[in-house]
Symmetry: C2
Subunit: 187 residues, 2 copies
C-alpha cells in the first residue's frame, strides 16, 4: 500500500520532495520556485530530485494532479444535480479556483493541454472530456448556448485564471466569469 515498491529511502525522499515542492509552490509560485531550493528544502541532493521527477513539469503534475482529478469527478457529480443549480457556472468557478491555487500553474496547464502526452497532459484531457459532458447537460437545461464546446469553456476559464493571477487586482476572477457568462452586451 505504499505505491511504488522500490527502496524505503526512495519512497521517503519522494514524499519529502512532494511536501517541499508543495510548500514552495504555495509560497512563491510554480514558476519562481527553483528546483535546487526544493531539493535543499527536502534535505536531499539535486540529483535525487531529478531522478524522481524527470523534469519540472513532472513534479508540477504530481502536485496539481489530485485536485485535477477531483475536478473531473466534480463534473460527474454535478451531472445529477437538480435543474435549479447552475452546474456549468459552479464547475467553472471550481476550475478557476484550482488553477489560481498556485501562481504560475495556468501556463503549465496551457502547455500541457497542447501536447497531451505528458503526465499533466493526460489529466488535462480527462478534464476536457468532463467539460464536454457538462456543457452538453447544461445545454439541455438551457443554461448554455448550443454552439459552446468543452474546449472553449476550458480555454476561457484558463484565460480568466491567468489574467487574474497576472494583471488583474486579486479576486477579480468571479467578476470576470460573470462577464464571460452573461456577455459584454446588454441583455
Amino acid at each position: 500500500m505504499t505505491g511504488h515498491p522500490g527502496r524505503s529511502d526512495a519512497r521517503r525522499n519522494r514524499a519529502r520532495l512532494i511536501e517541499a515542492a508543495t510548500a514552495l509552490f504555495d509560497e512563491v509560485g510554480v514558476d519562481t520556485a527553483a528546483m535546487n531550493d526544493i531539493a535543499r528544502r527536502a534535505g536531499v541532493g539535486p540529483g535525487t530530485l531529478w531522478r524522481h521527477f524527470p523534469d519540472k513539469e513532472a513534479l508540477t503534475a504530481e502536485i496539481v494532479g489530485q485536485s485535477l482529478d477531483g475536478l473531473a469527478a466534480l463534473a460527474i457529480e454535478l451531472l445529477d444535480e437538480p435543474k435549479s443549480r447552475d452546474i456549468l457556472r459552479e464547475w467553472v468557478s471550481a476550475l478557476v479556483r484550482h488553477i489560481t491555487r498556485y501562481r504560475g500553474i495556468a501556463t503549465s496547464y496551457a502547455r500541457a493541454t497542447r501536447t497531451g502526452d505528458s503526465p499533466l497532459g493526460v489529466r488535462c484531457l480527462a478534464v476536457e472530456q468532463a467539460a464536454t459532458e457538462l456543457v452538453r447537460h447544461a445545454q439541455a437545461r438551457g443554461q448554455a448556448r448550443t454552439d459552446l464546446t468543452g474546449s472553449e469553456l476550458i480555454e476561457l476559464a484558463t484565460a480568466v485564471a491567468w489574467v487574474n493571477e497576472t494583471t488583474a487586482p486579486p479576486d477579480t476572477a468571479e467578476r470576470l466569469l460573470d462577464l464571460v457568462f452573461e456577455g459584454l452586451r446588454p441583455r
Copy 2:
C-alpha cells in the same frame, strides 16, 4: 530629426538592434529570443545592447510601443464613427491582433500594466484610458452593458490573446471574442 543627439555610431547601432530584435521576435517570439542572439544578429557586442536598453522589457517596449500608441489613436477615431459600427468589438479585435502579433507579448503587457512606471507601463495606461472612453461611448450607444469598465475590457482582451497564443488552436481569437461579447448563456 534623428531623435537622440548622441554619437553617430550609437544611433546606427540602436537602429540595428531594434531591427534585429524585431526580426527575432517575429521568428521565435519575445520570450524565446535571447538577448545575446539579438546583439550578435545586429553585429554588436552584448554590452552595447544593454547600454541602449537597460533591460529586456525596455527593448520590448521600444518595438511594441508604436503600434500600442496606434491603438490609443484608433480608439479616438472610432469615437466619431456612425452608430451602425460596432466600435467596441472592432477595437478589441485590433487590440487582440496587436497582442498576438509577437508571441509572448501578452505576458510582458500584463506585467507592465500592473507596475505602471515602466516605459511599457506608461503606454498601457494610455491604452486603458482609451478603452475607458470607448466603453463609455459604446454604453451610450447600447452596445455594451452599463457596468463594464475599461480595465475589465482590457483584461478580457489580454486573456483571450494569451490563451490564443498558448493553448488554443491558432486563430481561435475571434471565436472566443464572440463568446465573450455575447456570453455563454443562450440569448
